[in-house]
Structure formats: structure tokens, C-alpha cells
């Protein structure tokens, strides 16, 4: 009654599809409702300069996403549009001098206003550092984070006035210096 019948009807393409599906499930946390999922700043050489994640992901996933995105974005030609579909997200990126600013937003979000958000952040950096360049962000990365945190919170814009953001940063800086001053002097004299 038994007959040899070596049938296996799964093509490699099917297998690939399933793997992709599984990959998507793997990144399921990215699908929550949230305006901005993450923001990355990286240089033309692919070096990460700033990363802000608004969704909980493991370090491994973050690294994987970063690597993949940096590669994809850098491979795009300058004449291409600033948007790309990546997994279930939309990536909005813009290049300013040697730096790429890259945001991941959700499907129903407005790409054009995200470009404005990126631009506003660049303006804030520029105002704060005084014609900002990549080196400013490398050496003062913590400041760049502070500015971002005064501008965006949890992936949403919290302040639409440039002036207010910068004022808040300056005052917080002042507060820091007040606390710092006595010890800095001591440091300069003795310990450094």
C-alpha cells in the first residue's frame, strides 16, 4: 500500500516569506501607536552620533536596526526623496552637511511635518552652538541630548517655540554651572 513519493511542496520563496513574517513579528513592539519611534543621527561615514529610542527594544535589536538603517540611508542617492518604507515604518531622513538626521514614524503620520521637526532640531542646535558642526555634536553629545529632550518628549513635540527651548536649556546650564563652580576651581588647582 505504501508508495515512495518524495514530495515537498514548499518553495524557497515561501520559506523566505515566512522568515520575513517572523522577523516582522520579532519587531512587533515597533507597531505600538506612537508618533516617533526613534531618532538617529549619524555621519556620512556611518558613525552614530546620537540615538534616541522612544520604544523599548533590546540593545541587540537597536544595533541591528541602526546598522540596517544607516546602510540603507547612506546607499540612497542625493536626488532621492527623504522617505523610505522600512518594515512597517516610514523613515524620514535629511542630510545636513556631513550629518544625517533620521526619524522613524508610523504609517499614518505626516512625513512633511516630521521633516520640519528635524529641521527645527537642527535650528535649535545651530542656535545653541552657534553655527553647529558635526564636531560640536561629537564633543558635546550630552548637550545635544538635552536640547532634544527639551524639544521632544516621548516622541512628540513639546515646545513649538524655539526661544522657549533655548531659554530652558540655558537656565538649566546655568543651574549646572552654579553647582559646579566651586569644585571646578578646586579641580583646576589640584586634581586634574
Amino acid at each position: 500500500m505504501s508508495v515512495l513519493l518524495p514530495i515537498w511542496f514548499f518553495s524557497e520563496r515561501d520559506l523566505f516569506e515566512t522568515q520575513r513574517l517572523r522577523l516582522m513579528l520579532f519587531f512587533f513592539p515597533l507597531l505600538s501607536i506612537q508618533q516617533m519611534q526613534f531618532m538617529l543621527l549619524f555621519s556620512r561615514q556611518g558613525k552614530l552620533r546620537l540615538q534616541k529610542w522612544y520604544v523599548p527594544l533590546s540593545d541587540k535589536e537597536k544595533k541591528k536596526i541602526t546598522r540596517e538603517l544607516v546602510q540603507t540611508v547612506l546607499a540612497r542617492k542625493p536626488k532621492m526623496c527623504s522617505f523610505l518604507e522600512w518594515r512597517d515604518l516610514k523613515i524620514v531622513y535629511k542630510r545636513y552637511a556631513s550629518l544625517y538626521f533620521c526619524c522613524a514614524i508610523e504609517d499614518q503620520d505626516n512625513e512633511l511635518i516630521t521633516l520640519e521637526i528635524i529641521h527645527r532640531y537642527v535650528e535649535l542646535l545651530d542656535k545653541y552652538f552657534g553655527s553647529v558642526c558635526e564636531l560640536d555634536i561629537i564633543f558635546n553629545f550630552e548637550k545635544a541630548y538635552f536640547i532634544l529632550d527639551e524639544f521632544l518628549l516621548g516622541g512628540e513635540v513639546q515646545e513649538t517655540s524655539k526661544k522657549n527651548v533655548l531659554k530652558a536649556i540655558e537656565q538649566a546650564d546655568l543651574l549646572q554651572e552654579e553647582a559646579e563652580t566651586p569644585r571646578s576651581v578646586l579641580e583646576e588647582i589640584g586634581l586634574t
Binding site: M1, S2, I7, F10, Q34, C81, E116, R120, L153
Partner: protein
């Protein structure tokens, strides 16, 4: 001099040992940047990390802040920094603002809700939320809003709510976004914030206003009750928006001439949610939307961002028809914009609206088609999708021309999608059969290697069914493959057609086109060179060989040549090809009287539509030799989606679906091969299952029937089978039709074990295509006792609503500590060594696939086969 120097040296060493002043952050960054190689950088960082670790160990408070900052830099470079997590918490607990600032930053970067450590912050954040300095409060809010887990949100929601009510706008805006985060994490806390939202929209400060709108949006999207509650805010939102677009220049919020675009976009989005499915609210916002749509300055990106949001809102709410046309026209204008980004969003949003406002979008067709030529792949893809959405009966010829041209010139990544899009559209809107065949042939010639596997059978079916086109088609195909065998699907279709309609080709009676003069030998030359060509896939060769065989009855003077070719391939190293050749040889020698009847022209195939036009179940065409004579309905070629379903089941388990790589196994024609093999088995008389011979059957089909029972009546039930009998495990299937519902098949499985060891953790799983319903009752046990001393029984019920269609079933059984199967073999030997327990080996598993067709037609053939070592396949015909 000397002693003094010694003292100095001693002092330095003393200091550096007791209190090694770590280098400053900027210093470190500078040093690391001097590294010329990756290895050098790594070395520097390892050294610094060691210093930082020891400093952490010494509980050094002075430099903790600096060390954590350095660690954050290294973290950004991709080096591990988790050992700084607890230090961040210590910094947060410190009284100094600098420490707190870096501490919170570090916490946001190094910690997230996946680590339990983050819960230790809760108390610190709570204290800081009540701090006297607003910037400390701000840091705490920011951290909570960025990374707060649900536990944390639950604990701190009260504080957030309190801050949402303060008059301090700096804290209020942060608290509002924090509330958004809390609601996202713990939706049931939403009501808590309801009282605080009362006065939010009366705020003058744009930051607070913006974040409040975000908060309201979040609440409306999460709960229908909130949505109904907040509908009353529409007039107020309209007023705010009106003020924004009417007010003059305000330097603080101006972005290239537009007043606070961020706020405008947010309000528009909230209006969209409030107006969705609600006539009154939609009515209330019609005017302002029209105003925004006409008054917004569009020379810059900001203006377009607002317009884009306006369009989305207009399309989503119950807006007036005039407004909708205005919206589509804005998108049409976007398509002509120089800015690629704007063209892209236009295409994306047109794609969203094409279903509802088809005619309005249709007006911009030519612009959309032009976007197919764009240099940007994102735009191209969108334009392609939109073009397919716009194809209809009126424009199909023109659109297809453009799309075929696109298919020709586009990047490889588009070809597969484009080809299947063209197939679908051609199927739906083909103005004539000839056009349809031409179109598909054109796709196969330009993008043959990218088409999906089902394209070949689909085209063959289409050709068979258009009887008047046979001569024309075979001639076209013959010309298409002359000298070019690179496009495999095309060559397959061509081989099939030449085999089938070779006589028409040679007789040269084509009406549609000028007939070509071909001799029988020329045709055979082509087919033979396909057989020889190293570009041909094994499947293609199979097609060619069968075609040659078929020609033996269609050609008159070349039969001897055909016999020779067939006998040559009887010793081919390709098992599949050899098998075919041996079969055909037998047909020439033993059953020559049957040959003309067997190789008769294929009947017109019935079209069986399952779910969509793309999924056509039909014969492969390679299968006719033995079965077709007796079996008019389409044979069971598995549609691709079913295979996927089956794969899904396999995918869920922890085994990797193993795909045998034997050259004979080609999924493209799985059904065909299956039948071929049946044919083969019948011919060669190997132990074979029983085709029920109610209809007159060719005698050779009965050769293998000697010891087999005949199943004459399927209504009486499907006979039971032994599905698996290997390595001591025996599984029997008993089939039964349910009395109450004849479309329910009840399968009882019985498993017994003849080895001397018990098989434990026996799990039987089954999967069916989505159109079926499956019920797995619980098994009698999960242990099969040894020495056949007992059996496990399990009942599976399969409901097949469409009675006479193909069904398939994958069964999976896993048995850790059982001595069989693919992984099980090695397992078994280890078990004998007695090492199995310590090794903790992965469960031995075997996969069984049962696939079959049940027809109401009283023709039954049961085939059961072991599939390599993996499992088995059962086919019910």
C-alpha cells in the same frame, strides 16, 4: 635635588594610586578619535572601561558623573555599558543638578523597561517630581515620558496628574506628554486625567496647547467614550485654528510665514478623529478646512505639510463633495511639484483615496503614469501601485502599454510585483483573448525569471481554453524561444504548447499572423536543444521531454527519432528525467496500442476559482499520461497559499522545515510530479495503491492492483491506512464521514509502539487550509507504551465546506526521547549509550504531511509514502 625629585615622584604615584583623576570627557573623546584602527580604538576603550569600573567599585562620588558621561559616549560607539546602569541610579539620587542631569540621561540611554533595575528609579523620580526646582521636575517628567514602564506609570500617574494642573507652563506641557505616555502604557488610567483636560485648550502658551491637543488625540483614539465626550470641543479647536491662520506675524512661532505649523497639523489631526463618522462635527469643520486649504502658502515645505494634513482630514471625515474634489486637486498639484518628497506624499495619499474617489483620481492618470519614470525608487513603487489601482476596462490597453514598458526598464526589485500586477489586471480587464495571451507572453519574455510559480500553469490553462488561438499561440511561442532559453517559464510554456499543438505549428495554418514554415525536425531540434541546454532547469527539461513524447502522435515521419531521444534519456543522471523517459519507453514498447489515446490533446480545463482570480487550481499539463483518461476534474495541484498554510504550521514549531534538495523535487510542479510518479508506479508495477476502476481504465493502470483492495464508493468512507510504520512506531488512520454532516471527515489516529522503550511526549498536530475547519480532540495519552502494549488514540475532525476541492493536512508529531525520525536516529543510538538524559538533546521530531484530494467522484487512490526520513505524505485521490 635628587631627594626632592624622589618625593615628587612618590607624591605623584601616591596620588595616582589613591585617587586616580580620570581624564575628562572631552579629553577621552579626543583620544579615541586619534585611534587609527578599530583595534586601537577597542584597546583604548577597554583600558578606560577598566579604569571606570574600578572607580565605580571604589564608590567614588566626585568623578561618577564624569565616568558615566564617558560611558555614554562609549555606548554610542557600540561598546557595552550596562555596568553603568546602577551608577546612573546613584547619580539620579544625588543632590547636585549636574549629577541628576547626566544620571537621567544615562538612565534613558542605558535602561529600559526590560530590565528590572529601572524600577529602582521609581522612588527617585517620585521625589524629583515634587522637587522645588522646575528643571529637576522637568528631567523627571522627561525620563518618565520616555521610558516609564507600566508599573512605573501606575505608581507615578498621580504626580503627573498633579503637575498637569499647575500653572507653570514649563511643567504643564511636559506633564501632558507624560500623561500621553502613561495612557499608552496603562490605558485604564485614562479617566484619571479627564478632569485636568477641562481647561487645557484655554491655554495661551503654544507648548501647552500643542501637548494638550496631543493628549486629547490620544484619549480620543483609545476610547469611543472619550471621543464622544470631546466632540463638543470642535468649535473651540476650529477657533484656535482660525486664529492661527488669521493672526498676523508672530515671531515666536513663525516658520517661513506660517504661524505654528506644528500646532496646526496637530489640530487638523484631532479634527480628523473627531469628525470621522460624525455628520455634525464634520459639518462644523468644513469651512475652516476649506479656508486652510485655500489660504495656506505653499512655496515651502511647511505649507505643504499643513495642506497634506488638511487633505487627509478632508478625505477621512464626512466632508462635502466639493471639498473632496478640492483635496484631490491639491494632491494633483503636489504631483507636479518639483520637490520629490511632496510628489511622494501625493502618490501615497492618492493611493489611499483611490478606492473612494476613483474618478477624481483617474483625472490625474497621465501625471501618475509619468511618475513611473521617476529616478527615485520610492516614488516609482508608489506610482506603480497607483497605476495598477487605476487600470480599468476603458484604459487597459494604454495603461498596460505603459506598465509593460515599465516592466522592461525597471529595477529587478520591482519586476516580481509588477509582473503579478499585470497578470491580475490582464485577467480582470482583458479586452480579448489574443490580447491577454500576448500580454502574458510579453511579461514572460521580459521578466520571465521573476514571475511567480503559478504563472506557467495559469498561462497554459488560458491557452488551452482559447481553442481558436492555438495555432497563433504556438507559432508565437515557437518564435519567442528560437535560440533563447534563458527565460525558464517562457520555455516551459512554449515546450508544453509545442508538444500539445505541434501539428498546428508544422501545418502552418495560422490566421492571425503570417504562417511560418517549420519542419518536424526543426521542432524536434528545438526541443532537444532545450533538453541539452545547461540553462534549462530540471523542470523545464521534463516539460521538453514530455513535449517530445506527445509529438510522437502528432508528427508523422519522426517517430523513430522520438523513440531514440526517449530511450537516450532512460539513462539520464537526472532522476526525474530518467523516470519520465523510462515511463515513455515502456509506453512505446509494452503499450503502444494505448499511446495515441493517452497522448490525446488535453481537454479544455475547467476553471476553479478559490479565493481570487489569481488562484486557479488546475492541472499542470505534465500529468496527463495515466490519469487524465479517467479523471476529468482538475487534479490536485496545490495552490501556493495552501503550501504557505502548511509551512506556517511547520514554522511555528521549533524544528526548521527541512526542504529536501534532491533535484527531482521542484515545488513548481509538485502536483505534476506527484501524478507522474503515480503513473510511473503503475507502469512499472511496484507496490502501489488502488485507483478505483469504476470508469473503464487502461489495463496497465491495474497492474499494481494485485493485492490491493478496491475502493469503489467514496461515500462509504475512505479506507483506513497505515500512515507511518517505521522504527517501531506505527500510526494508523481511520476515516469516517460524520453522519450528521457529510462534509465533516472524522479521522481517528492510533499510534502504537513496538520498541522496548516507551515513547513519551507524543504530540500530534494538524493543519488545514484556511477554508477548512479543524478540530483536534485531546489524545488519550502522551506516552505510547513499549512492546505494543497499548495505543494512543486521537480524533481529528475536518470540516470541508466545499466538498469536492483539494484539501491538505499537515500532521506533526514530536517525541522527545523517542527513537526515530530525522533527528531521532542519532538520538536513538545515544539512548543506547545511556547518555541521553545528561545531554538534554533537543526533542526528536518528525513531520508528517498528509495532502490529498477528496472528490465526490467515485475514484479513490490512497497513497502513503515515507518522505525521506522526515515523515510521510499521504495522498487521497
Amino acid at each position: 635635588m635628587k631627594p626632592l625629585e624622589t618625593i615628587e615622584v612618590l607624591q605623584t604615584t601616591f596620588f595616582s594610586q589613591r585617587m586616580p583623576a580620570p581624564i575628562r570627557l572631552r579629553e577621552l573623546i579626543r583620544t579615541i578619535r586619534t585611534a587609527r584602527t578599530q583595534a586601537e580604538e577597542r584597546e583604548m576603550i577597554q583600558k578606560e572601561c577598566a579604569a571606570i569600573r574600578s572607580s565605580f567599585r571604589e564608590e567614588d562620588n566626585t568623578y561618577r558623573c564624569r565616568n558615566v558621561a564617558k560611558l555614554l559616549y562609549m555606548h554610542m560607539l557600540g561598546y557595552p555599558a550596562h555596568f553603568g546602569q546602577l551608577e546612573c541610579l546613584k547619580l539620579i539620587a544625588s543632590q547636585k543638578f549636574t549629577d541628576k542631569r547626566i544620571g537621567y540621561l544615562g538612565a534613558m540611554l542605558l535602561l529600559d523597561e526590560r530590565q528590572d533595575v529601572h524600577l529602582l528609579m521609581t522612588n527617585c523620580i517620585k521625589n524629583d517630581l515634587n522637587h522645588s526646582t522646575q528643571y529637576v521636575q522637568g528631567l523627571a517628567l522627561c525620563t518618565l515620558g520616555c521610558m516609564g514602564s507600566s508599573e512605573m506609570c501606575r505608581d507615578l500617574a498621580g504626580e503627573v496628574e498633579k503637575l498637569l494642573k499647575t500653572s507653570n507652563s514649563y511643567l504643564r506641557k511636559k506633564a501632558a506628554l507624560c500623561a500621553v505616555h502613561v495612557i499608552r502604557k496603562v490605558p485604564e488610567l485614562m479617566e484619571m486625567f479627564l478632569p485636568a483636560t477641562k481647561n487645557l485648550l484655554n491655554e495661551k502658551n503654544h507648548g501647552v496647547l500643542h501637548t494638550s491637543v496631543v493628549l486629547l488625540t490620544e484619549m480620543c483614539e483609545r476610547s469611543p467614550d472619550m471621543l464622544a465626550h470631546f466632540r463638543k470641543l470642535v468649535p473651540q479647536l476650529v477657533r484656535i485654528l482660525k486664529n492661527l491662520i488669521m493672526s498676523g506675524y508672530s515671531p515666536e512661532h513663525d516658520v517661513s510665514g506660517i504661524s505654528d505649523p506644528f500646532l496646526q497639523v496637530r489640530i487638523l489631526r484631532l479634527l480628523r478623529i473627531l469628525g470621522r463618522n460624525d455628520d455634525d462635527s464634520s459639518e462644523a469643520m468644513n469651512d475652516i478646512l476649506a479656508q486652510v486649504a485655500t489660504n495656506t502658502e505653499t512655496s515651502k515645505n511647511v505649507g505643504n505639510a499643513i495642506l497634506y494634513e488638511t487633505v487627509l482630514t478632508i478625505m477621512d471625515i464626512k466632508s462635502e463633495s466639493g471639498l473632496r474634489v478640492l483635496a484631490i486637486n491639491i494632491l494633483g498639484r503636489f504631483l507636479l511639484n518639483n520637490d520629490k518628497n511632496i510628489r511622494y506624499v501625493a502618490l501615497t495619499s492618492l493611493l489611499k483615496t483611490v478606492q473612494t474617489d476613483h474618478n477624481a483620481v483617474q483625472r490625474h492618470r497621465s501625471t501618475i503614469v509619468d511618475c513611473l519614470k521617476d529616478l527615485d525608487v520610492s516614488i516609482k513603487r508608489r506610482a506603480m501601485e497607483l497605476s495598477f489601482a487605476l487600470v480599468n476596462g476603458n484604459n487597459v490597453r494604454g495603461m498596460m502599454k505603459e506598465l509593460l514598458y515599465f516592466l522592461d526598464s525597471c529595477e529587478p526589485e520591482f519586476k516580481a510585483d509588477c509582473a503579478s500586477g499585470i497578470f491580475l489586471a490582464a485577467e480582470k480587464y482583458a479586452p480579448s483573448k489574443r490580447w491577454h495571451i500576448d500580454t502574458i507572453m510579453r511579461v514572460l519574455t521580459t521578466a520571465g525569471s521573476y514571475v511567480r510559480d503559478d504563472a506557467v500553469p495559469n498561462l497554459i490553462q488560458l491557452i488551452t481554453n482559447s481553442v481558436e488561438m492555438h495555432a497563433y499561440t504556438v507559432q508565437r511561442l515557437y518564435k519567442a524561444i528560437l535560440g533563447d532559453y534563458s527565460q525558464q517559464p517562457l520555455v516551459q510554456v512554449a515546450s508544453w504548447c509545442i508538444g500539445e499543438y505541434g501539428d498546428l505549428l508544422v501545418s502552418g495554418q495560422c490566421e492571425e499572423e503570417e504562417p511560418i514554415q517549420v519542419t518536424e525536425d526543426e521542432v524536434l531540434d528545438i526541443l532537444e536543444s532545450i533538453l541539452i541546454s545547461n540553462m534549462s532547469a530540471s523542470v523545464t527539461r521534463g516539460y521538453a521531454l514530455t513535449a517530445i513524447m506527445k509529438l510522437s502522435t502528432r508528427f508523422t515521419c519522426t517517430v523513430n527519432r522520438i523513440k531514440k531521444v526517449v530511450s537516450i534519456y532512460g539513462s539520464s543522471i537526472d532522476v526525474e528525467l530518467q523516470q519520465r523517459a523510462v515511463e515513455y519507453n515502456a509506453l512505446f514498447k509494452k503499450y503502444d496500442h494505448m499511446r495515441p489515446a493517452l497522448l490525446e490533446r488535453m481537454p479544455v480545463m475547467e476553471k476553479v476559482t478559490t479565493n481570487g482570480p489569481a488562484e486557479i487550481v488546475q492541472t499542470n499539463g505534465e500529468t496527463e499520461t495515466s490519469v487524465l483518461e479517467t479523471k476529468p476534474p482538475p487534479s490536485g495541484l496545490q495552490p501556493a497559499n495552501q503550501a504557505n498554510d502548511l509551512l506556517d504550521l511547520l514554522g511555528e514549531s521549533d524544528i526548521t522545515p527541512v526542504i529536501p534538495t534532491a533535484p527531482t523535487i521542484k515545488p513548481a510542479s509538485a502536483g505534476g510530479e506527484l501524478l507522474d510518479l503515480l503513473g510511473d508506479l503503475n507502469l512499472t508495477g511496484s507496490p502501489v495503491s488502488a485507483p478505483a476502476p469504476q470508469i473503464a481504465q487502461p489495463p496497465f493502470l491495474l497492474d499494481g492492483l494485485t493485492s490491493q483492495p478496491l475502493f469503489n464508493d467514496i461515500a462509504a468512507g475512505i479506507p483506513s491506512i497505515t500512515a507511518y510504520n517505521k522504527n517501531g512506531l506505527k500510526i494508523d488512520f481511520t476515516f469516517e464521514r460524520s453522519n450528521t454532516n457529510p462534509s465533516v471527515t472524522v479521522i481517528t489516529i492510533q499510534a502504537s509502539n513496538s520498541t522496548e522503550l516507551d515513547m513519551t511526549d507524543f504530540v500530534f498536530q494538524a493543519a488545514v487550509p484556511k477554508t477548512f475547519q479543524l478540530q483536534l480532540l485531546s489524545p488519550s495519552s502522551s506516552v505510547i507504551p513499549a512492546f505494543n502494549s497499548g495505543t494512543i488514540t486521537q480524533v481529528i475532525k475536518v470540516l470541508n465546506p466545499q466538498k469536492s476541492c483539494t484539501w491538505s493536512l499537515v500532521l506533526k508529531a514530536s517525541m522527545p526521547r523517542s527513537p526515530f525520525g530525522f533527528a531521532g536516529k542519532e538520538h536513538w543510538y545515544r539512548k543506547l549509550d545511556g547518555k541521553e538524559e545528561e545531554n538534554g538533546l533537543s526533542p526528536g521530531q518528525f513531520v508528517a504531511a498528509v495532502m490529498g484530494t477528496v472528490y465526490v467522484v467515485p475514484l479513490v487512490m490512497l497513497v502513503f509514502c515515507p518522505l525521506e526520513q522526515l515523515g510521510f505524505v499521504v495522498c487521497l485521490w
